[in-house]
Symmetry: C2
Subunit: 646 residues, 2 copies
């Protein structure tokens, strides 16, 4: 492990905001997450490789062989998933690279090298790299940024290269993407012979910021800023581009530029709209750039969008984008449960955005949402065994919704994979004279504060228990502030340092206990977060949830699953005053916190009428709830997050 | 008015079952329906004509002029709505013809004649008539029965011709469709040089039965039977046809032959599946043929399908087919409210099927569902002014769902139009020695029982009041049984004949009071149906409706609409024991029965959080409900059918 990337290339540590402690410097220990990381490393990575091979994704890298028939036809859509296969390969490389940082595997390293070599070989002399256009449509390069994901694919390859370089120190993929990014910077820009375009699917913007931070080359940051600044300006690039293709600009598949958040310049955007993943990736880049450029108007837009999504358009799981139609947002408070689309990638994107807002603003409310999405709406996308995936994450099911092993648009598996594999980087961050703990995850971390190397050992059974021990081991005694997040869901927290009680309330700053002291080897911080099971209610504007309640404990949203309950879950109702009990089930789902309560259940009817005038009767039952993200790991299929309260 | 069509062409009146008293012999009087018929006649018919003209439908009849660009592109679908424009024109002719029977309008008559002349001119010498294939794809005639609606269009033109002939006595359109049907009978059939095909969208089958009943030509009945009998047989015609097109039979757009109810031979079908309108049209033809051929196995399938839909897959409104994806059925008890597709055409088709089951079986349970769909799920498709239409009929809305004036697939407006315009034919039927009243609608009817002409005058304010007076006026004194339906929702009915109480219970037969007597001029029957406002509950298997209640009075399903209530409708809850009051509002929505009750409403939150741990509070309110089919006639947009019960 090394903390290389937090101080690479001599970039000054920004005074105003934090840098994440990189995944290379954090090793997860036992608990909920380490086994999930292990599953990604040992199962998801080889499983996806095999799936890609079987489905022809890697074959697409052989750009000089004839393309053969298109595996996934257009089917009336403006694009085919084949157009973004590069991004899936990139996300696999990114995920696999993360795993190498903490668990080196020479065979996997060689496998990545092989792919990188094939990518380098396919790259055109001018730097261009996109297997679809090189092989199938060379004349159509850069002719439809709106629909064809060309820069999006470039962005993912850049992210893969950055991860690969950080994890292995190897520069070969970085060289490929730098050549490509340099070439892109000649095509796109404000110059007279350049195109003022940007991608329909944001992604390259945040990737270019990463490339800048790795390499220190300012041109990548400027290109990211250019793409973000151009977005939604008039005359609209997608209009002009459509006219150049002799197409009617109005005849676009999705009907509105809101779909790609290009309906208006980004600084004027105040409402989260359109395709949810595109939105999250765009806002992530906006947060990055707002930090890098201290850009007040860009941050104002980010904050307004944040307020909009968190007060009107976010599922209680941290999932978002309720509609399958546009894979995205609809209207305020439109949060249906059974038909919730809530794409895994969107929750992952929410985490990306929240993480960036957190680093710039150092405000725990961003960490609260990051944690919510992480434990619930994102994690639900991945099975316990690491080989099955959800694309959409409904909050209620009568059955028929199971994780799949393959999807024609396989974006979600490597997205949740790369998130889990790189989870270390979301736990800690550092500022010039402080370190922050955002997530309570058993782990060892090496970081640098004020030029002094500090090791943190975090011991906890969080999220099942609220007690956290942090052993602080500076190389030498050093003064800095340790910021410990007190989650918004926690109503009572206590803290002791080396056995002495510490007054949390007096030092609370934007959701963090702020412990400024001279730290020495062996200092031990004990944080205790009161973590009762609670009932959560939705704003009455949310039609689907009126009269319903969610069970929550700590960061975990619970659900009723058929396997644990004697009655169909949608018929179970919870009386208003019944207490909720929490316990840990060692032998269930690899060990899981459960909630139980005395409840009632609507009885089946005698006879088969569909409607009748006398009401059904109720009987007593015991309700058993498991974490939402653990559902669909058994044969049962029924599931309810929102429980009727009676 | 004449009763011509009940005894046309010397076809023997079947002893086993009833014939409808035709629309030509029934005139609706004041009440709910006569103004709706007037709106269809005076508004819908000219409005749709203008819309068709504007959108190029009539222009498509000019098959010898160059076609120009396709108005509605394929957009990845296997067909374009342009392929079924003939059916929309046909349904317009059918609707317009019905109106002529009771309200002759020479200008409209001439307008129909003009269209008929254009159709006759476009017909090919061999009898073929389909504007799309004649004009655009002459080489593709009969090459894709699965997707291209070719026989479906023929079916609608046949229905139009039958209505036109019945209403006006004119034979010119009948001549066109007879030539076409005769030609079709040469192409399709069991012979060695014939095709054993049938249409992906059932429709021609029921139309051919109508053509047979009008003309007495048995070949049409046999062709209908052939199409029904072939459906779903192996080797599968749609497979063979796809192979002939060099296509993979498995690569069909809708994934399964259940979509077109051709997954298995019809006599083996026991579960309603697939596209709901296709299902209803198919089952209608099956019921017709089961009656005509006394076909026990076909009727057994009809009854099993009927039991399936009415106990597992029917909305409380009589609407059906919950999913937009396949415009049809999904799983048992899957009846979501806000996303209910419940296409207007499907509820209209349900009425077609129920009516045919009723005539063959003479059992009031079919009339009960027919009435339910008529007053609720079908009528909701049409605005009070006759110029706006719903395609899908959700049972809850937060706004944004309004009737439109035009749709790219404009099937619903003329479908609800032809139903309302021909509503007279659903009210009465006759058997050899009996007459039945199925619906209570103020009307005058002329019918023939046992060879004697009988006039019936029905006076009632139903569905707002439960009292019905029927004046029986036989040409001469004659013995027959008058069957009066006692709806299943009615728990107490009383009857008096010429002021003398008649014991209903003693004569009840399959849901009808059975009054056998010698009727003479001036006999007066008074039926009184107890019609309290009631609460209706859904089977607890229906996830969406657990803990909820519907308000119903007589055949009318009520809903809460924003315009009548002080609070957002989804926040209103009805305490279990509060009484429901009914009254008539003369000045609202052209006069409408309303229900009111004391209720509670969940209060808005102070502050804008989306989720919190303390529950919202409730306050008292008065709930005001209007009939579901009357919603969306004002600016308000919120609507709820299923009300939370607390």
């Amino acid at each position: 492990m090394s903390e290389r990337s937090s101080q690479i290339n001599g970039l000054a540590h920004p005074a105003r905001w934090h840098l994440a402690v990189p995944f290379t410097a954090v090793e997860l220990q036992d608990g909920l997450w380490a086994p999930r990381q292990k599953a990604v490393r040992e199962r998801t990575v080889p499983f996806l490789y095999a799936q890609y091979e079987k489905n022809g994704l890697f074959e697409a890298l052989d750009v000089d062989s004839p393309p053969g028939p298109l595996r996934i036809p257009f089917n009336g859509r403006p694009n085919t998933a084949v157009m973004y296969w590069d991004s899936d390969i990139a996300k696999w490389i990114e995920t696999a690279s993360y795993t190498l940082a903490t668990h080196y595997d020479p065979a996997l390293d060689a496998r990545i090298d092989d792919l990188v070599a094939r990518i380098a070989k396919a790259q055109r002399p001018d730097g261009y790299f996109n297997t679809y256009f090189i092989r199938r449509e060379p004349a159509k390069r850069w002719t439809n940024l709106r629909d064809w994901h060309e820069l999006y694919c470039a962005g993912h390859m850049i992210e893969a290269a950055v991860a690969h370089a950080q994890a292995t120190g190897k520069q070969d993929l970085i060289e490929v993407v730098r050549r490509y990014a340099d070439y892109i910077a000649t095509i796109f820009g404000p110059g007279p012979n350049q195109r003022r375009g940007y991608c329909g699917h944001p992604e390259i913007e945040l990737a270019l910021v990463k490339l800048y931070r790795l390499t220190g080359a300012r041109s990548y940051l400027d290109l990211a800023k250019f793409f973000v600044d151009e977005r939604g300006r008039q005359p609209h690039y997608f209009d002009q581009e459509a006219i150049a293709r002799s197409e009617d600009p109005a005849a676009q598949y999705y009907g509105t530029y809101e779909y790609s958040q290009s309906h208006t310049p980004v600084r004027e955007q105040r409402e989260v709209v359109g395709h949810a993943v595109r939105a999250m990736y765009l806002y992530s880049a906006m947060a990055d750039l707002a930090g890098e450029f201290d850009d007040v108007s860009l941050m104002a837009a980010c904050k307004a969008l944040w307020a909009d999504v968190t007060t009107k358009r976010l599922y209680v799981t941290g999932g978002l984008g309720p509609s399958e139609r546009n894979e995205g947002f609809t209207a305020d408070y439109d949060l249906p449960n059974e038909t919730a689309y809530a794409e895994t990638c969107a929750a992952v994107g929410m985490i990306f955005w929240a993480h960036r807002m957190l680093l710039v603003e150092r405000d725990a409310r961003y960490a609260d949402i990051m944690e919510l999405a992480l434990y619930n709406g994102a994690l639900s996308g991945l099975s316990l065994d690491g080989e099955r995936f959800f694309y959409d994450n409904p909050l209620a099911s009568r059955g028929g919704h199971r994780r799949w092993t393959w999807h024609r648009c396989p974006c979600c598996p490597p997205n949740i994979g790369r998130l889990v594999a790189s989870l270390g980087q979301y736990v800690y961050s550092t500022g010039p004279d402080e370190a922050a703990v955002h997530l309570y995850i058993a782990s060892n971390a090496r970081l640098s504060v004020g030029g002094v190397n500090v090791s943190l050992q975090q011991k906890t059974q969080y999220p099942w228990k609220g007690e956290i021990e942090i052993l602080v081991e500076p190389e030498k005694t050093v003064e800095f502030a340790l910021r410990l997040r007190v989650p918004a869901w926690c109503r009572s927290a206590s803290l002791a340092i080396n056995g002495t009680k510490f007054d949390i309330e007096a030092t609370m700053d934007r959701g963090y206990a702020h412990i400024k002291r001279r730290w020495q080897k062996g200092d031990e911080v004990k944080l205790s977060l009161d973590m009762p099971a609670e009932r959560v209610y939705a704003n009455p504007e949310v039609l689907a949830d009126v009269g319903r309640v969610v069970l929550k404990r700590g960061p975990i949203i619970y659900c009723l699953e058929g396997a644990d309950n004697d009655a169909p879950t949608h018929r179970i109702a919870l009386p208003k005053s019944n207490p909720i009990e929490a316990h840990f089930e060692r032998n269930l789902l690899s060990g899981v916190g459960m909630l139980t309560a005395e409840a009632v259940v609507v009885q089946s009817w005698e006879g088969g009428e569909l409607y009748r005038t006398d009401p059904p009767t109720m009987e007593r039952t015991t309700l058993r709830a498991i974490p939402y993200s653990f559902w669909s790991n058994r044969d049962s299929e029924e599931m309810s997050v929102w429980i009727r309260e009676v």
